[in-house]
Amino acid sequence: MNAGETRVVVAMSGGVDSSVAAALLAREGYDVVGMMMRLWSDEALGGAEHNRCCTPDQMRIARSVADKLGIPFYALDSKGVFRDIVVEYFIDQHRAGYTPNPCLECNRKIRFDWLLRQALALDADYLATGHYARVARRRQGGWLLKKGLDPGKDQSYVLSVMGQDQLKRTLFPVGDYPKSEVRRFARELGLDAANRKDSQDLCFLGNNDYREFLRAHAPDLMTPGPIVTSAGEVLGEHRGLSNYTIGQRKGLGISYSEPLYVLALNPIRNALVVGKRDELGRDRLVAERFNWVSGALPAGSFRAEVKIRYRAQPQKALVQPLEGSRVRVEFDAPQRDITPGQAAVVYQGEICLGGGVIAKFDDEQESLEPKDQAVQFIA
């Protein structure tokens, strides 16, 4: 396809990565359109007047980058859809005793669905973002999601919700470059965003802690309840389950003969289950709502690497597809902080095969049909 006749909508945030993504595409001669989603933030909560991803400052920067590149730029009102989908998901998941990662939900339902549709309706051929990941054509047809070239920056974890319909319409222009190179491009382009620090907080919290957010929006989650051992011994009272996460040791407010860690959140009994360090490690998990990037369910179990948090290292494991979009993962070695609500993302080398949401541990007691036949995915 001739670049000049190929329209690409770039999701711009004012940050280095998406600015460089837009610049790279513009340099290639694509018909580039900048777009920024105006996301929801909790204006009622002090200090969080603007969503971190789209403050007036960010918008000004993105707009000036677009001007510099000579491309149109539009801001889209996405507040309602973001609140209804992502923020509700965040609250509901906490209510059910999970520790959710709303960024995946945003990618699944907002960025690569709602925004992608807006782009296609604007006669775009592709949606591009500043993620560090790569899309590759599979020899047998179809599309592969691969890690970004820079191993320190890879963001395929949060993109594991994508399927073939999304990948064939998606470009990740910075995924082929190391971050240092992207920063160099940014300086060459005179983008003053070049040295901004990446934030780890959720975009809609503003300057608030997520606990303050939940206290304001779901006060029921802050109901005190018992702290119990896995044997059922009551040790004290917790301040509401959402204040805790799996593996947490500090701030439990109980004294015991040895250090205690959070093992599980039980919303049905409103109980915080704690235990000793050796009780923490688990060697298996079940992931739900599992998305296979290829769109096809693998025929049997296979060896792979599985990442259980955005910042975790992939760990060797046996992966078994189950009925009903579920997947069982058996790690070679126990993992300390398997956290229901976070994503379990499956890799074979550079290739991201898919991911799902880690289920509650109770769900593991599933009778499994043995599926030993190893399946290899080759690009």
Partner: protein, 392 residues
């Protein structure tokens, strides 16, 4: 790039400078550059250009040249009128009550609001009808209480409706209330005869009638002594300090003259194009509603609400197809708020987010209207389709 054709349908926002206006301005950049207050030959030439422009403007306004004050823009003219009138009342030891309507331009609304906050002025907003026109009986009731000034828009920027200025000005006069008309949108299209209208003050801005941006006029009736809001030298009879922007003042006068000399032909064309646009849009876009008065409106101005169609998204689709339009609720930051004007007209908040303004002008053609209608119909279909997909 996919979009090649460009169609400008936002003449109410601004107009291109007529080449004849540019020609008239050119000598005043490099040849005649003296400060109009200087006594030497360069200064005298500048002064005579400014004074000649003042006379030409006065002829169109049917007033004395000394009643014409040159300003830097329509907003400044509005500010001088309202702020000046409020200060004048205070100086006279009177309560500075301010009467306006809820559908004024922000230059008026925010000036009144600020005076209310900083000077503790009482402010009164007279209700408007569904077309956006000030209700005369309610206006009379407001004037009965006395006021430093009543400021009413001549033709509404968002919905195009024309107020009965002569009637409202007569009511104000009867109650000894100074009457200011914001005629920024009306300039070039409606009569500016201040005697016939009976107004005390009237604001204009050149860039709405094919003149340059950055120059305006305040007509100020003889005998009304307003404290200057821009203090400095004694320019403009002490009413507005600041070195004359000679070239732009000349441009304003030239543009105003051309607009009224060619009005009958120009306005008939505008009206014809606007009717074609309105008929086409209303017949082809289900649910669309014309806002403002169907006939008693600016010839160039068409405005609608398209319920369910977020103005931001629509303007983006139009722009991607080269069409320049605007909306009272669209916002560059993707944070559309219901248009205050449409709310005041009685539209529901979710409908007041869906305003669209299309305004025709000197270069508009029938083919452009046809193209714009095709693009609009397709864009509305796409946006409605997206909304259906996301109805949860």
């Amino acid at each position: 790039m996919k979009a090649k054709r460009e169609v400008y349908l936002d003449y109410s926002a601004s107009t291109p400078v007529d080449p004849r206006v540019m020609d008239a301005m050119m000598p005043y950049f490099g040849e005649v550059y003296g400060n109009s207050t200087s006594s030497h030959h360069q200064g005298r030439r500048g002064e005579s250009a400014v004074e000649e422009a003042r006379e030409r403007v006065a002829r169109i306004l049917n007033c004395q040249p000394a009643e014409v004050v040159f300003t830097s823009c329509g907003s400044e003219s509005d500010n001088l009128a309202i702020r000046g009138a409020a200060w004048r009342a205070r100086r006279q030891g009177k309560a500075a009550r301010l009467i306006t309507s809820p559908v004024e331009h922000s230059a008026v609304i925010n000036t009144v609001r600020q005076l209310g906050e900083l000077m503790d002025c009482e402010t009164v907003a007279v209700p408007v009808d569904r077309q956006g026109r000030v209700k005369a009986d309610r206006f009379a009731a407001a004037c009965r209480g006395g006021a430093a000034i009543a400021s009413i828009i001549y033709a509404n920027n968002e919905v195009g409706s024309i107020n009965d200025l002569a009637l409202l000005a007569a009511i104000a006069r009867e109650h000894e209330v100074l009457f200011h008309a914001d005629a920024v949108q009306a300039g070039g299209q409606l009569t500016l005869d201040v005697e016939a209208l009976g107004v005390d003050m009237l604001s204009l801005s050149a860039h709405k009638f094919y003149g340059p941006k950055g120059v305006g006029v305040l007509y100020l009736r003889d005998g009304i002594d307003l404290p200057s809001i821009m203090t400095g030298g004694g320019h403009e009879g002490g009413r507005r300090a600041g070195t004359h922007n000679t070239a732009f003042i000349v441009g304003l006068a030239k543009a105003l003259e051309l607009a009224y000399a060619e009005a009958s032909e120009r306005l008939a064309r505008f009206r014809h194009l606007r009717v074609k646009l309105v008929d086409g849009l209303l017949s082809r876009v289900a649910g669309a509603e014309l806002t403002g008065h169907p006939e008693n409106r600016l010839p160039s101005h068409a405005s609608f609400v398209l319920p369910g169609i977020d103005a931001n998204a629509l303007l983006m689709h139009l722009d991607m197809n080269g069409i320049a339009a605007s909306s009272g609720s669209a916002c560059k930051t993707g944070n559309p708020e219901p248009s205050d004007a449409l709310l005041a007209l009685g539209y529901a908040p979710d409908v007041a987010k869906c305003g669209l303004r299309l305004s025709v002008g000197s270069a508009t053609t029938e083919a452009e209207i046809d193209y714009a209608l095709d693009v609009l119909v397709a864009a509305v279909d796409k946006i409605r389709g997206l909304k259906r997909e996301f109805a949860t």
